[in-house]
């Protein structure tokens, strides 16, 4: 460590000069530079670009598998036999079931493929719900202030004190009594994740809104009589969303981890209703003790790859938006 030549390291940070100007005149920036991921890709160099590309490849592969699961998976998620021939239970990998079968006699490979679909829908629902609710509440709370703001802040902080998995458990009880079919399962999991994440979006958006609303341009808009809803959507919201792409990716990966955690504890989606990676892992704990690895490794690796892909994209965007990596970066980003 001491043998390094003490050049000031902060100066060689990846800091392309151009994007700094984007905030001033958004209209003149070409479309390509305004789309989050693409603009980040264009700014990136070297290692950073490598991480971003790797993340994008993993994420794209995940989406493709999720959308085309029907054609990729050889069997259905709850199929025990093909052409009258039983798969058998806990069979090691063989030509019929390339990754073996589970304790219930399901094909591991097919369940992993179908699991991508479940995970994809759950992530999309969870992120959409929490973005809309979180942005709406943060905007209203931050802009109008007053007693509503106070109450919402206290509630958001209280919910923040609950470990997210435990809150998700409570919500899973409330929404479905703990067991469910595909869509009610996805819905209850995503609602559970939503309630966990809304406080986070709320806090970030609210803090930005409070900052932006003190800017002169908001005041001028108010003075010339722009209606409130227009100030909110056009002047305040547009200038408060810069950290959203990072939170979206962080929350997408947390959504998947929460879904899997719920499934692992037996709170997810029933095995016959849909394939879910966390549930399969929960069932495989007993298998592992007797040396059966093929029921545990594939769904686990699937989770790791998807979360890794999404997180890499998020990390890269985060670093690129803030090249000098000041403390603004959400330090507990993985929480």
């Amino acid at each position: 460590m001491s043998d390094e030549n003490p050049t000031p390291q902060a100066t060689d940070a990846v800091a392309p000069a151009s994007p700094a100007t984007t905030a001033i005149s958004p209209r003149k920036v070409p479309l390509l530079d305004r789309i989050p991921v693409i603009s980040h890709f264009r700014q990136s160099v070297g290692l950073q670009r490598g991480m971003l590309v790797f993340g994008l490849v993993l994420s794209t592969a995940f989406i493709i598998v999720a959308l085309f699961a029907q054609w990729i998976a050889p069997y259905s998620w709850a199929q025990r036999s093909v052409d009258g021939q039983d798969f058998g239970t806990q069979q090691p990998p063989n030509p019929l079931n390339i990754w073996g079968t589970t304790v219930s006699g399901f094909d591991v490979y097919s369940r992993v493929i179908w699991g991508a679909q479940t995970a994809f829908f759950a992530i999309v629902c969870a992120v959409l719900f929490s973005i809309f609710l979180g942005i709406f509440l943060g905007l209203v709370s931050g802009y109008f202030g007053g007693w509503l703001d106070r109450i919402l802040v206290v509630i958001a902080d209280a919910i923040y004190a609950l470990p997210s998995l435990l809150l998700a458990i409570v919500l899973a009880i409330a929404i479905s009594g703990g067991q469910s079919s595909l869509w009610s399962g996805i819905l209850s999991t995503s609602l559970a994740i939503t309630v966990v994440f809304v406080p986070q979006y709320f806090r970030v958006i609210r803090a930005e809104v409070v900052r932006v609303k003190a800017e002169p341009f908001v005041e001028s808009a108010r003075v010339i009589g722009v209606p409130t809803h227009r100030i909110l959507t056009r002047h305040v919201l547009r200038n408060s969303t810069r950290s959203i792409p990072v939170i979206v990716t962080l929350n997408a990966s947390e959504a998947l981890l929460t879904l899997a955690g719920l499934g692992f504890l037996g709170f997810g989606i029933e095995a016959t209703a849909a394939a879910e990676w966390g549930y399969d892992l929960g069932r495989s704990v007993a298998d592992v003790s007797s040396g059966i690895w093929w029921t545990a490794i594939p769904p686990g690796v699937a989770i790791v790859l998807v979360v890794l892909g999404i997180t890499l994209v998020g990390e890269s965007i985060n670093d690129l938006s803030d090249p000098r990596l000041r403390r603004r970066r959400r330090a507990g980003g993985a929480a």
Partner: protein, 358 residues
């Protein structure tokens, strides 16, 4: 920090340090716990009642309807929900978190019986996290954007990306099943557990009990059982600490006093470990405190994976039995513990940071 950071516009604390000093800050911050507890109890209570009364949820289908109704009436669940809610809320403030349906035990007793196991696990995990996360974070900061940094960051992301129960499964598969080096599950072997029961006034923390017993065999057995669970939970947290230390040290490394120290010829090692690391500690400590919530979530999953009989293991057992009174009580208790930890963290941060102290 959580409670206060949003109140001001730019992260300034709600309680201005000028307006009365440390004691006032502590007092106000303490009273902010109360609304947190009330909100948590309210949210959890009404959500778990959403699907109906807990007796039907737990025993429905297994008892004839008239017996079921009798039990519901005996437990008072046929009264208006709002009455039950107020009763439960006042119970919480007296330390009564309800009584489980399946085995009729007060939830508080469950905390006392199994809390020590969770505490022990969290302690091992914290040691692993600190021992791995901080040095590696410093290395990553020192070698920023070069090969070691890239590897360490990828590793940290990988650990974050891996669900804790999958880490547990993989560790178990490799070290217990294939190599046979370490035990598969549990907190100690049966022989040691029997031995430990002879300790007077057991603390429940097996390591302490084993040391008091003075038996080297028991101590090594307990530690041997702790390796995998401690690693599984600790590595997750280590990944977070690594990123945290790296980010904050890079931040302070860019500060002018570091540059001036460097120009005075302070060597790079000392620059990192003293000049840049010390001031970076304040945000690190705050966020580490906030990781308690994550650590407890992780403990639930780790305990289930390793049959480590702590609060998290009991929680998953009660979930399986659909004993929602127990689930509700345990979750509320955990939330209160988290709220108190956050309070302590804020106070510690205020004591360390001179800007808050005066």
């Amino acid at each position: 920090m959580v409670m206060l950071a949003d109140e001001g516009t730019a992260g300034t604390p709600l309680v201005s340090p000028k307006s009365g000093g440390m004691w006032r800050y502590i007092l106000v911050r303490f009273f902010l716990i109360i609304p947190t507890v009330i909100i948590v109890v309210t949210v959890v209570f009404f959500l778990t009642r959403f699907t109906g009364d807990p007796i039907t949820a737990s025993l429905g289908g297994r008892l004839p309807p008239d017996q079921l109704a009798e039990r519901i009436a005996a437990a008072g669940y046929d009264r208006p929900v709002i009455v039950q809610y107020l009763e439960y809320l006042s119970g919480v403030f007296r330390g009564d978190f309800g009584t489980t349906i399946t085995d009729n035990r007060p939830v508080g007793v469950i905390l006392l019986t199994y809390g020590s196991a969770t505490l022990e696990l969290a302690f091992y995990a914290l040691i692993v996290a600190l021992a791995v996360g901080i040095p590696l974070g410093l290395i990553a900061a020192a070698k920023r954007d070069r090969v070691p940094d890239a590897f360490l960051r990828m590793g940290a992301i990988l650990f974050y990306a891996t669900p804790i129960f999958f880490v547990a499964i993989v560790l178990k598969l490799i070290f217990s099943v294939w190599l046979g080096w370490l035990p598969v599950a549990g907190r100690a072997s049966t022989r040691t557990e029997l031995l430990l029961q002879r300790v007077e006034n057991p603390t429940g923390v097996y390591l302490i009990d084993a040391i008091r017993l003075g038996s080297p065999a028991a101590i090594s057995d307990v530690l041997w059982h702790a390796v995998l669970p401690g690693l599984a939970l600790g590595l997750l947290t280590a990944g977070i600490f690594l990123r945290l230390v790296r980010t904050n040290v890079i931040g302070t490394l860019g500060a002018q006093y570091v540059t001036s120290a460097r120009s005075r010829g302070v060597n790079e090692y000392r620059l990192i470990t003293k000049h840049a690391y010390r001031p970076a500690l304040i945000p690190i400590i705050t966020v580490m405190g906030l990781q308690i919530a994550l650590l407890l979530s992780g403990a639930v999953l780790t305990e289930k994976s390793f049959e480590w009989k702590g609060i998290g293991f009991m929680l998953s057992e009660y979930i399986k039995a659909r004993d929602f009174i127990a689930v509700q009580g345990i979750i509320i208790m955990v939330a209160i513990i988290v709220a108190f930890t956050n309070f302590l963290v804020d106070i510690i941060a205020a004591m360390i940071d001179p800007r808050v102290r005066y």
